[in-house]
Symmetry: C2
Subunit: 156 residues, 2 copies
């Protein structure tokens, strides 16, 4: 097994940002995060997220990005925000190694499970998570209220 997974440290933030940038290109979505924000929010005070890095020998192969979530119905959970493997390293079990590492911490913390969103067009991602035992909650829709709308709301 050539793939190794370890927790990201403050020194990994530039690499983490590079991998997040690649993920945003792959997902065709805009991005506003900065290295400063990742450093402040992950490594000063109570961490707001946790990142795991996968390496193939010494080469960075991918990352998982998680935070603690909480269900009013089921209690503690883990939200898997991103799971990304660089194209050159696919087919080497990096994704499952990352997911297993996330699963272990979720079980250690007595969580009800892992929650995530995937993009509907991302069939490989869907197949991967289905094989890993994920259920699709097709009765749910994802909504977002952006900052400018929140501002309007509080003024109205």
């Amino acid at each position: 097994m050539e793939i190794r997974v370890r927790e990201a440290t403050a020194g990994d933030v530039p690499l983490l940002k590079e991998l997040i940038d690649e993920m945003s290109v792959f997902e065709r979505l805009p991005i506003s995060i900065t290295e400063d924000a990742l450093l402040r929010d992950g490594f000063h005070g109570v961490p707001k997220y946790r990142a795991l890095l996968a390496f193939n020998k010494k080469e960075p192969a991918g990352y998982a990005f998680v935070y603690d979530c909480y269900s009013s119905f089921d209690g503690k959970g883990v939200y898997l925000e991103d799971l990304y493997v660089r194209p050159a390293f696919r087919g080497k079990n990096a994704a499952i190694a990352l997911l297993r590492a996330v699963a272990r911490t979720a079980l250690e913390n007595d969580c009800f499970g892992i929650v995530l969103n995937i993009l509907r067009w991302n069939t490989p991602s869907y197949k991967f998570f289905a094989r890993a035992g994920a259920a699709i909650l097709d009765d749910r829709q994802v909504l977002r209220i952006s900052r400018d709308r929140l501002d309007l709301l509080t003024r109205s």
Copy 2:
């Protein structure tokens, strides 16, 4: 304005549990949370969630249940897990009062916005959030990997 919103305290946990139970009946979903878990996770150590309560005069009218989320693309956010108003108190602006209170804390904490899921069949909820400026992220699917599947994953 008869509706008042305030942050829930440890002493409110029995009321909060009662409201969550009502929400689970309304949503027709199973529930495993206990008062002990809500007390431990909300009021000991770093809080894993925050609840707001709405009152009509002194009568409990509803609640909002939130936790800090984190987007690798956009940074700090608020996840709105539940927003519930008791049937007898609907039409009195309790829901918008709760949402405004959540919006204020999101803006104070410099968040990119509020994220939430709604149940597809819940048209009144959809209409409420659409009026409040929510965008539907229809390209996303919600997945969940339950505890027993995580256990299988880590053993395989």
